[in-house]
């Protein structure tokens, strides 16, 4: 079974899926990613699926699952580079990605994470100033 590599760029973890996804590799990816986020304290995850041509409902659910997991570690998830055919398939399957953000390509995805990180710093900074008691809530 092929394991999907997880690359760290600054505070962002990049998952670039270059193979046809099997259910096993999807499950392995979810485990690996949770460990990596926990270990690195990354604030963002980018899943690049520009090479993925075939999806099913299991893979569709993977995005929502990964996003929910990342959220527990306070990291945002962006899915980038979805092909039109894949988007149409997911819509036809009636799947929505829930809280997952999407971007047209990797560059725009990084830009979104950058903006979110800036907002977060600002918000946390303000929180610290105003209500230090609730800072870790």
């Amino acid at each position: 079974m092929d394991r999907i590599p997880i690359l760290k760029i600054g505070q962002v973890l990049l998952v670039s899926i270059q193979i046809d996804l099997q259910d096993q590799s999807v499950l392995a990816l979810q485990e690996d990613l949770a460990e990596q986020i926990s270990a690195t304290g990354a604030h963002g995850v980018i899943i690049d699926i520009s090479a993925v041509e075939i999806v099913d409902s299991f893979i569709g659910r993977m995005f929502a699952t990964i996003a929910a997991t990342s959220r527990l570690f306070d990291a945002d998830t962006v899915v980038v580079g979805m092909r039109p055919a894949v988007a149409i398939t997911l819509v036809e399957l009636g799947l929505t990605l829930g809280q997952v953000r999407t971007a047209l390509n990797l560059e725009k995805g990084l830009a979104i994470l950058g903006k979110l990180a800036a907002e977060r710093e600002l918000a946390e900074g303000l929180d610290d100033l105003d209500e230090p008691v609730q800072a870790n809530s």
């Binding site: 899915v79 980038v80 979805m82 092909r83 039109p84 894949v86 988007a87 149409i88 997911l90 819509v91 036809e92 929505t96 990605l97 953000r101 999407t102 971007a103 047209l104 390509n105 725009k108 995805g109």
Partner: protein, 285 residues
């Protein structure tokens, strides 16, 4: 062209004398080239109906197809042709029923008369029928190719994706929306999003005259798919009647942005991509 009553009666008599044998042979000849596309019972019913109207028309003494006596025959043939066309039969398969009567008659009458001269002539007219039929078949096929080509071109022509601003694409939809067209629109728009990297898309339906639940469903799917790819999609130009229809049908557009006009949608899209429009201060003098 009309002949005298004596001859007329003789033809009508000839036709109706062995009617059952004739019709049975007719049905058999008709059903062979159709390869079971129509049931035997159905064919028999059609043939008998046509035969009866034909005998009735012939027995009035008329031999002119345009004559009022043939009104019922024409109606029967029209209905038969329409049915065949809807079921996707070729012209040959449609018309074989009519020509088969000639062969059936030749066979049944030939058994009695045995006139070889007449037989030759009839055999030759049968061949001519086939030639005429083949000509028509080719003609119809050519026509259908032209129509299919035009339909395809129309589909391509009527769904342009235009770039309104840097990072803003628009699809002005005109005419009637059906599943095939909305599918093409969806695919072309999503492809264009990937190619141009635009993050804002506008689907303008000012030129769309009617929206039903299915079309609305397709529009929603387009917006959802664009969203999945990381672009935002706005729907603009909903006509008042269509707005009422949408409300009456109970179609939920949810959190999809809709704007009254293309101009509003463009302004919204530009603002979303960080561009604002400012009117120049009026210059004095």
């Amino acid at each position: 062209m009309s002949v005298d009553a004596g001859d007329t009666d003789s033809l009508a008599v000839l036709l109706s004398k062995d009617a059952d044998v004739l019709i049975a042979r007719w049905v058999a000849l008709t059903s062979a080239p159709l390869r079971g596309k129509v049931s035997e019972a159905e064919l028999t019913r059609e043939c008998r109906e046509l035969f009866d109207t034909l005998v009735a028309a012939v027995s009035t003494g008329s031999r002119d197809f345009q004559d009022p006596a043939f009104v019922e025959v024409r109606a029967a043939l029209e209905e038969l042709s329409r049915n065949r066309a809807r079921l996707g039969f070729t012209p040959s398969e449609t018309v074989v029923g009519v020509f088969a009567l000639k062969r059936a008659m030749l066979e049944t009458s030939g058994q009695r008369t045995g006139d070889t001269g007449l037989r030759e002539v009839i055999e030759f007219t049968l061949l001519l029928d086939t030639l005429g039929l083949w000509t028509f078949e080719c003609y119809a096929r050519a026509r259908e190719e032209v129509i299919a080509q035009q339909a395809e071109q129309l589909l391509e022509l009527t769904t342009p994706v235009v770039r309104l601003w840097d990072g803003v694409l628009a699809v002005p939809l005109v005419g009637t929306l059906d599943s095939a067209r909305t599918q093409v629109v969806m695919e072309k728009l999503l492809e264009a999003l990937v190619e141009t990297g635009a993050e804002q898309a506008i689907v303008d339906i000012t030129g769309v005259l009617a929206v039903d639940t299915q079309v609305a469903q397709h529009l929603l799917k387009t917006v959802m798919a664009a969203r999945l790819m990381g672009a935002e999609c706005t729907i603009s130009g909903i006509r008042p009647q269509i707005a009422q229809t949408i409300v009456e049908l109970g179609i939920e557009f949810g959190d999809i942005t809709t704007k009254a006009s293309l101009a509003d949608a463009l302004l919204y899209a530009m603002r979303r991509s960080g561009v604002d429009v400012v009117r120049k201060r009026a210059q004095v003098g």
